[in-house]
């Protein structure tokens, strides 16, 4: 180990630094490039215009998630634009020699679920994807960046991108979460504290005993939403939990190479006493089931709080923010959030569309029914998640409760496929963004929460405290 203690971010950054560019940025090697149908076609187009090839096709992996219909399996899809994007990705992967987890492979799914599932996401690596939730992969101790299409082009052509280093903020959460409180609540709580741009310029290192005890899926849920707090990158130091998850996955090293890899991965973890630009500490016991009331993920409150009142705002900015949010959400200032009527319940997304999410919901919803008038859909994050849920009978439990069980995709997280809110429907959603119009209707309303809270909202027809609804204590 080097004399100077370093953070994981620093070590990975240094190992992947190619050289300094003229403008002072670093040319950073991107070891793993994940692509999907929405942000890659223009990049391949630029490559063709410039007469360039993909430098490392064996380090480039594609899947289809955003536009793929989740209730239609046979092509051509009814939406010709969706079909065109599908065809374009297929053509690009074939022409440039990129591995494509197409639907026919049985491995298709949301890009941030597929990478870990396949063992492509590994500690000590750099990952880029034309999607802001790429931070998810940081759960494995990777430095994973969401990038724009021109950078997708850069990574395709050069396997690098131009970037300035980030500062590192360590966010320590210690202690045991109270019953009924989940990883989703942890990240909603963090973003509530930092605001939506508090993380600008930072990579987040999530640590502390709460994270040590988390499963990989829980770590992914938290890292996933780093960007909602403004941080482009979020990671957890790799440990035994990480290695156990990766062992035996299709792209994980095998045999002697596995032991070597684990030794290397361990060495990437932050050294004790390394420098952090900022440290934030949170007591796990202070976190309650959290829901949003507004139009950005920082506008969250615990389930037992009341909707903020602009009259009580401490600044003109805050007042204007609350007023704008409440006008859009059509929610009364000062009223309890609990009891707010919902129209739609959505389970899924790269934040909470994994096996553990559906297992947890199935455990509580078994024998219960979705309230009359509520449209409820459950969308597995990948074909593998779907298959596993089906093997365990989770799909049946959800279907009996009144959830529609769908095929894998992003679905109503951003509604680029046919799953959309209608008019000003209010959706209890396990996804990650509650922006105006996010779920496909320009007046549609989103309340973010954990999957079990979505289940509680579905069965009661209102924003509810899952601990009461399901007698959790």
């Amino acid at each position: 180990m080097s004399a100077q203690p370093k953070s994981l971010f620093q070590k990975v950054w240094e190992a992947h630094s190619v050289r300094k560019l003229a403008n002072g940025q670093t040319q950073l090697l991107i070891g793993t490039h994940l692509i999907h149908e929405v942000t890659s076609p223009q990049a391949f187009g630029m490559l063709r215009d410039l007469g360039l090839k993909v430098l490392m096709p064996h380090r480039t992996f594609a899947t289809v998630d955003h536009i793929v219909p989740t209730n239609e399996l046979v092509e051509p899809y009814k939406d010709p634009l969706a079909q065109a994007m599908m065809d374009e990705l297929r053509k690009n992967c074939a022409q440039f020699g990129v591995t494509f987890f197409d639907r026919a492979t049985g491995k298709q799914g949301i890009v941030h679920i597929v990478g870990p599932e396949q063992g492509i996401t590994q500690p000590g690596t750099t990952i880029a994807c034309g999607d802001s939730h790429t931070s998810t992969h940081g759960a494995f101790g990777a430095i994973a960046f969401g990038i724009g299409t021109s950078q997708v082009r850069d990574v395709l052509a050069t396997q690098t991108m131009a970037l300035a280093p980030l500062k590192v903020r360590r966010i320590e959460v210690n202690g045991k979460l109270r019953p009924g409180v989940y990883a989703k609540d942890v990240i909603l709580h963090i973003i509530r504290l930092t605001g939506v741009n508090g993380g600008t310029g930072y990579a987040y290192e999530y640590a502390g005993s709460t994270f040590d005890g988390f499963t990989m899926e829980e770590r992914m849920t938290v890292c996933n939403m780093s960007i909602e707090g403004g941080a482009r990158v979020g990671y957890v130091n790799p440990d035994e939990t990480t290695f156990a998850y990766l062992k035996g996955r299709p792209y994980s090293p095998k045999g002697a190479a596995w032991d070597e890899a684990v030794a290397r991965w361990k060495a990437y973890a932050s050294d004790p006493g390394c420098h952090y630009d900022d440290v934030m500490k949170i007591d796990a016991a202070d976190i309650a089931p959290t829901v949003t009331w507004g139009i950005n993920p920082g506008q969250g409150i615990s389930i037992n709080e009341t909707i903020p009142d602009p009259a009580k705002a401490t600044s003109a900015d805050e007042k204007a923010g609350i007023e704008e949010a409440l006008a859009y959400m059509k929610l009364p200032a000062g009223a309890p959030i609990k009891g707010t009527k919902i129209n739609v319940a959505f389970l899924g997304s790269c934040t909470n569309g994994r096996l553990s999410d559906f297992r947890e919901v199935a455990k509580f919803i078994k024998g219960k029914k979705v309230a009359p008038g509520v449209r409820a859909i459950a969308v597995p994050g990948s074909q593998i998640v779907a298959l596993q849920c089906e093997k365990e009978g989770i799909d049946k439990v959800l279907a009996e409760a009144g959830f529609e069980w769908r095929a894998a995709g992003c679905s109503m997280c951003l509604a680029m496929n046919p799953d959309k809110l209608i008019g000003d429907e209010l959706c209890a959603s396990s996804s990650n963004r509650n922006f105006k119009g996010r779920q496909g209707s320009i007046t549609g309303r989103t309340v973010l929460m954990s999957p079990v809270m979505v289940a509680a909202a579905a069965v009661t027809g209102q924003v509810a405290d899952a601990r009461e609804v399901f007698s959790v204590n």
């Binding site: 992947h16 630094s17 190619v18 560019l21 003229a22 403008n23 002072g24 040319q27 090697l29 070891g31 929405v38 942000t39 076609p41 223009q42 490392m56 380090r59 955003h66 536009i67 634009l81 969706a82 994007m85 374009e88 034309g130 802001s132 790429t134 990038i147 724009g148 021109s150 950078q151 082009r153 850069d154 052509a157 050069t158 396997q159 991108m161 131009a162 970037l163 300035a164 939506v196 741009n197 600008t200 310029g201 403004g230 482009r232 190479a257 070597e260 890899a261 290397r264 950005n296 900015d317 923010g321 704008e324 680029m416 963004r433 105006k436 119009g437 996010r438 496909g440 320009i442 007046t443």
Partner: protein, 202 residues
């Protein structure tokens, strides 16, 4: 590749007030069903510019007096949300060549710089001053000077800031990094050779 040196942007400006204007608002996801960026300009701020029934709402960028504006002024945390380059692309295709805001979300800032759109930061008070001046005279020429880090308008000026690397890239015509990145190929392969996970499968 020789790129234009972007030292300043001059033209009419328009103020789009608000904080945390996210990428879903800049370009709603449904307009991202496309395989090229062509034509995205007309969908800029689409859902704010139209009611659900499709009636124009009189958004600032639709006002006749702001037609042809090249400079966009806004509030804090502009461009938060997704990594979609469709957002700065829509802004560019709608004719804007510079953005002045209190501050910008990280990915949006990087994407814009790569397209040669200077994003400069100014204080809220200063942005309000420029906004007031263009309100009085919408055809006022506003100059975003990336080199001198100031915005000039009708004999007045305000100070702005910008990250050094972005400013350097813009004024020296290096805002699109692809040429320089391609030049580094020998070093890229050298760095890659030291990282076992990058080796092609045996």
């Amino acid at each position: 590749m020789a790129l234009e040196k972007i030292t300043q942007v001059a033209g009419k400006a328009v103020f789009v007030p608000g904080n945390d204007i996210d990428t879903d608002r800049i370009i709603p996801a449904r307009f991202m069903k496309c395989v090229t960026f062509d034509g995205l300009g007309e969908f800029l701020f689409f859902d704010v510019r139209h009611t659900p029934e499709g009636v124009p709402t009189g958004h600032p960028i639709d006002k006749p007096e702001h037609k042809g504006a090249k400079i966009l002024l806004s509030g804090a945390n502009f461009g938060c949300g997704s990594s979609r380059e469709h957002a700065p692309q829509a802004i560019h295709k709608a004719g804007f060549r510079a953005i002045v805001a209190e501050n910008f979300a990280e990915i949006f800032f990087g994407n814009s710089t790569t397209l040669g759109i200077p994003c400069v930061n100014a204080s809220r008070e200063d942005i309000a001053k420029v906004a007031a001046a263009i309100e009085k005279n919408p055809s006022l020429e506003v100059v975003v000077d990336v080199e001198k880090l100031e915005v000039r308008f009708g004999g007045e000026s305000i100070k702005v800031t910008q990250r050094d690397s972005a400013r350097d890239a813009l004024v020296n015509g290096r805002w699109d990094a692809i040429g320089e990145l391609l030049d580094g190929k020998p070093q890229v392969l050298e760095t890659a050779a030291k990282l076992p996970y990058l080796a092609p499968a045996a």
